[in-house]
């Protein structure tokens, strides 16, 4: 079985851990618990064993700590659909990723799609499509688009 490392990156409290836990263990908690360093989980999609690196939000933003990215075959850029600044930050995070490991397959997860105050600007959508990234409005809480998002990334990696 092929093993592929992917990294969940994005601002703090956008739901990287929640998305990973929903995907891997099918559990969700409303309680916010910040991640320190990296948590590593595994899940199987088709004939691929996915090693999911859930990177702390603070570390996603810091080029010094970009060592976690080394060896990643794909990236999930996670933003909070209700906090515009977390979406704006994704392009900066992507620059850090590119500098460290070059261009790898990417999907974008705009999380918390279950909430009402959705505030993703048209410019953001335009930017993502210019980059050729698939964008998913996900909800770790109700599970929408979570599997689809990981599936899409795996397909990009294996093709």
């Amino acid at each position: 079985m092929k093993k592929k490392k992917i990294c969940m990156v994005g601002d703090f409290s956008v739901g990287k851990t929640s998305l990973t836990q929903t995907f891997v263990n099918n559990v969700f908690s409303d309680k916010y618990l910040t991640t320190i360093g990296v948590k590593i989980d595994t899940a199987i999609i088709g004939d691929t064993k996915l090693i999911v690196w859930d990177v702390a939000g603070r570390d996603s933003l810091s080029p010094i700590n970009s060592s976690y990215l080394v060896g990643a075959a794909g990236i999930v850029l996670v933003g909070d659909g209700t906090r515009e600044n977390t979406i704006d930050d994704l392009s900066i995070i992507w620059d850090t990723v590119k500098n460290r490991i070059g261009e790898v397959p990417v999907v974008v997860a705009l999380n918390k799609a279950d909430l009402y105050d959705w505030s993703v600007s048209d410019q953001s959508y335009t930017f993502f499509s210019e980059q050729g990234w698939d964008v998913f409005s996900t909800s770790a809480k109700d599970g929408r688009n979570v599997e689809e998002m990981f599936q899409a990334l795996v397909e990009k990696i294996t093709n």
């Binding site: 490392k5 916010y32 618990l33 910040t34 320190i36 360093g37 948590k39 090693i51 060592s67 080394v70």
Partner: protein
């Protein structure tokens, strides 16, 4: 070879002491050696010769040349570990140490910091929404204000246009009615039909008068809205004023078979300085309302004048007002739906505003089925009877009198000069402008209807030349529109002939008071 084994033993001792675990891989990422304590962290399937990717997840995607520090990774045992990858001569040594010591502390600090920042973000967002909402409200408010202003000016305009034809309808109906009366007296054979026609005319008149009062209410409301109603205090005979009101409203109460009681106590003097016509308007309105909403019993008008203050109350034994309606009753255009009484719903609003302008507050108390009592208290300064000749502010002042009627001019001039006023008399507006250009005056008394240049034109000219001398208009017209026109042209006051010379002196005192402010 022996040396290397020795080195390895030393290392192992050292690592044990430092609580370090380790493993080594060759170029093809197969395990060459590892420490036994590796399994303390949950990496318990590692074997020499095995592919490292199969046994240690964090090694996936890495090669033997990678030099890397991973400060904090959760190991399979759940313990956070620090990992260092140290490549040397084609081999890779990976060191693993326990990082749980400061992980816990970092977690706490980071958690707090993130939560704080989230709160700040949320606060920021809310503030943004709040300021957006308040801006929206502000612009809505402006739109509403503009709409209301337009509405007011529209209503005022239309009401004004209505009033003139209505006045003439009422006037001509009156004439026709009088004619009919004469005809029926001189020609008895048409008496019956004349009487019937006269009944019809009375109906026309009643309706027209009702319309006129509605229009006048609308006009007043518009003026109050645009602050165009002024209180003009003058010496007022309160006893006469109450008699007037009683005389006017008695027929109304009689027609409904209810008693109209007057309880008037005017201690000291009954002359007070008040706006008699506005006070009359308020009284007529309040008493009229009381009679309108009372079907049996009585309406009592109580007045007390004491300490330069006039207290009025109007109590009835009528329908009363429910507590929820009592809240709405002061709203413009509001009318009790269940009483079936007609009106504009403006009377009380106007009355309340006028009382406020006079310096009082309208108080309404009521009990459903028992009756209503409205009351207010307004300042009523006593008239100070200063002998005119001794009035220092009047004596010695210079007044320009523009009046074409010699009879009036001579009389006014004479009375004023007897009070020590220096009067200059001219016959028309143009001469008045000339005189004002030549020398300063304290006051101008100006007729409207004059040859060569009317009082209106003269006022206009003075406004253009920025001459600030106060002008008091003496007009034979009591029509409100004429007064409004003169006021819009900047006159200081407007007196209707026959003018009481005392009123002029009062105005002169007011001019001096204003100038000394």
């Amino acid at each position: 070879m022996e040396e290397r084994r020795l080195q390895q033993q030393i290392n192992e001792q050292l690592f044990k002491k430092l609580q370090l675990a380790y493993f080594c891989v060759d170029k093809s990422m197969r395990v060459t050696c590892f420490s036994k304590n590796l399994r303390n962290y949950g990496y318990d399937s590692v074997l020499v010769g095995a592919e490292i990717e199969e046994h240690v997840d964090f090694m996936i995607g890495l090669d033997a040349q990678t030099e890397l520090d991973l400060p904090m990774v959760e190991s399979p045992s759940g313990t956070p570990v620090a990992v260092s990858l140290l490549p040397s001569s084609g081999e890779l040594t990976v060191l693993i140490s326990d990082a749980s010591g400061h992980a816990e502390q970092r977690q706490l600090l980071q958690q707090k910091a993130n939560e704080n920042e989230l709160l700040l973000e949320q606060q920021h967002k809310l503030m943004g929404q709040l300021s957006l909402a308040s801006k929206e409200l502000e612009s809505k408010n402006q739109q509403l204000e503009e709409a209301s202003r337009l509405q007011t000016s529209f209503i005022s305009g239309v009401s004004h246009e209505f009033r003139t034809p209505l006045t003439s309808i009422i006037g001509y109906t009156n004439l026709v009615k009088e004619d009919l009366l004469l005809v029926s007296e001189s020609e008895p054979e048409v008496k019956a039909s004349a009487q019937q026609n006269s009944e019809h005319l009375r109906a026309v008149q009643r309706s027209s008068k009702h319309l006129l009062s509605l229009v006048e209410n609308l006009l007043d409301h518009g003026k109050l809205d645009s602050n165009e109603i002024f209180i003009r205090p003058k010496s007022t005979d309160l006893a006469e004023l109450f008699d007037d009101v009683a005389l006017l409203l008695k027929p109304l109460s009689d027609s409904k078979n209810i008693e109209f009681k007057l309880d008037i106590e005017l201690t000291n003097s009954f002359m007070a300085v008040m706006d008699d016509s506005r006070l009359r308007q308020c009284l007529i309105n309040l008493v009229g309302n009381a009679i309108k909403f009372t079907d049996q019993g009585s309406v009592t008008l109580t007045a007390r004048l004491a300490d330069e203050s006039l207290t009025i109350s109007v109590a009835d034994t009528g329908l009363g007002i429910s507590p929820e309606n009592l809240k709405k009753i002061r709203l413009p255009f509001w009318q009790a739906a269940d009483t079936g009484k007609a009106g504009t719903g403006l009377g009380l609003t106007i009355t309340e505003r006028i009382i406020e302008l006079m310096g009082g507050d309208l108080d309404i108390s009521s009990e459903l089925g028992k009756g209503t009592c409205v009351s207010f208290e307004v300042p009523a300064p006593m008239l100070l009877e200063t002998p005119i000749g001794e009035c220092s502010t009047v004596s010695g002042s210079k007044v320009l009198l523009a009046e074409d009627d010699a009879d009036i001019a001579d009389l006014v001039a004479m009375m004023m000069s007897e009070a020590g006023v220096d009067v200059t008399h001219v016959e028309n507006g143009a001469l008045a402008i000339e005189a004002l250009r030549d020398q300063p005056f304290d006051l101008v008394l100006m007729d409207i209807n004059m040859p060569v240049m009317t009082g209106y034109e003269a006022l206009e000219k003075l406004q253009e030349s920025k001459n600030k001398t106060p002008v008091v208009i003496l007009s034979a017209s009591s029509i409100e529109a004429d007064r409004a026109k003169a006021e819009s042209l900047g006159c200081f006051d407007y007196l209707v002939k026959p003018v009481d010379i005392g009123d002029i002196f009062q105005i002169m005192n007011r001019v001096v008071d204003q100038e000394s402010l």
